[in-house]
Assembly symmetry: C2
Homo-oligomer: 292 residues x 2
């Protein structure tokens, strides 16, 4: 992967450059997901890789995943402060202590900036709403496994509405995701899963999530057969985001939400693992799906 | 723009969501630039919106632009620290002071992660090298002008080689950029420019940059006629990055570099300003360039 230049090391684990060939697969997957979902008429929105800190704070992310979040800090000093910063830098000392938090936090999942925007529109229509999102996301989990990047792209569809509407959406995408990945020639299993909640209290949250079957992941062996890699995830949030953001159904009750997320780099890595590092030598059926 | 939903407010100045229509223009511009440069055979590389802090420190960015940089910080504490963080958050107190700097800094310009990668490849070939880049970039300059975003996309071509090679590249793109923007029906002027260096010492750097004609910008009136917006920039770095990173020409002398940068959101905003907010009503010649 690195020797062939598909990924490029930067000196930081989990932070890599991508070659043109790698990107062509990411873009093809993005288009494939669009084609599969096209008939649903989702509203496309694209947010940058950072979101408003005030929204992030309200989202509840810090309760579950404080260790994964990335806040953006900046220098706010005068010229004397600048001279001291440069002196620290020259001396190899820590120059970052004086950086102050800005109003921006890196986006932890593509859908996080969406909820306040949806809430601001007022009550949902009877049919609920469906959104199409994609952005670079950040998670602070340096790792040597290329499948665990600190900055990666997540494509998502998010459904808001009644419990029945959002569960039907999740069921539909469980089937579509299964078909999509099978058609790409990837061995897969769909398994119950949980988010990586922080600490001992987090263990309980994770157990609840599994017991209630709120999260499923579509796993493909990439780094190893024993620990396959979650390439898609299917999440029923119940009324968590609806309550947090005050999103209401048409009848005024709290909206439920669900999302399906596609790890674009992870699916790309799965394809490279199973079909080889030379894209031109991939099976014709797979190439037709992606580049047809 | 905001009323029509082309851009979506997030509560932070300079941080906006993009509608599907807005994105379709950004993507069309990206493709247009690719078509114009296709014959040159540039090597495409795509870096995420963050770069290695060690590379950022070495780049010299903090000398010129400490106020624009964004460092990424994370929580590195234990469960007791987490409880204190949540207590601060609940009390509306500052919870960010305990965040520690990670190894990642937000990318300030698309080409910054490239130089160490190019240097690691050894001496340039006789013809030099040409790279094609695009990424989200961060600059901490909150502003009410939609043309001055904190997170925006920059497309770039970067040339490395002899002074003659890189100056010829810049001249070529000055012409191509002029033609491209004229063909898009935009009124424009190409003007000498300088980077927004920090402080009083920065004033001198800016004056030198202008006196030596190192930077030109292609300006289009967007927010106002008096202060047009730089949509493209053409930069001759002399041996700055070659010396900083030890990039050598084929004969062992220090490489010179130049880049052309396209502000994809800014060009999109210029098109919306001059051709209207309804993309379907844009002049047929412009639509043919972008969506043809």
């Amino acid at each position: 992967m690195f020797d062939r230049g598909l990924l490029i090391r930067t000196g930081v684990d989990g932070l890599y450059g991508r070659s043109g060939a790698f990107e062509s697969v990411v873009e093809a997957l993005d288009r494939l997901v669009s084609r599969i979902g096209a008939a649903d008429g989702a509203e496309a929105l694209r947010f940058p890789p950072g979101m408003a800190r005030s929204s992030f704070e309200r989202s509840g992310y810090l309760k579950g995943f404080p260790h994964l979040a990335g806040t953006v800090h900046s220098f706010c000093g005068n010229e004397a402060d600048h001279a001291r910063l440069l002196a620290c830098l020259d001396a190899g000392e820590d120059w970052t202590a004086k950086q102050a938090a800005t109003d921006i936090v890196l986006t932890p999942a593509a859908c996080y900036p969406l909820y306040p925007v949806a809430a601001a529109r007022g009550r949902l229509p009877e049919d609920g709403l469906l959104f199409d999102l994609q952005s670079y996301c950040f998670r602070h989990e340096p790792s040597l496994e290329p499948t665990r990047m600190q900055l990666f792209r997540m494509r998502e569809y998010v459904r808001m509405g009644t419990p029945e509407q959002v569960l039907a959406f999740r069921e539909l995408w469980l089937q579509r995701g299964n078909t999509m990945m099978s058609d790409l020639g990837l061995p897969l299993a769909i398994d119950p899963a949980n988010d990586p909640f922080f600490g001992r209290a987090g263990k309980m949250l994770a157990n609840n999530q599994r017991a209630q079957a709120l999260k499923f992941e579509l796993n493909v062996p990439v780094n190893s057969e024993d620990k396959p890699t979650a390439c898609l995830s299917f999440n029923y949030h119940q009324d968590h985001f609806g309550t947090t953001w005050g999103i209401q159904q048409a009848d005024g009750s709290v909206a439920h939400t669900a999302c399906v997320g596609f790890g674009l780099e992870r699916i790309t890595l799965a394809l490279l693992r199973h079909h080889g590092l030379d894209l031109d030598a991939w099976p014709a059926t797979v190439r037709a799906q992606l580049f047809g």
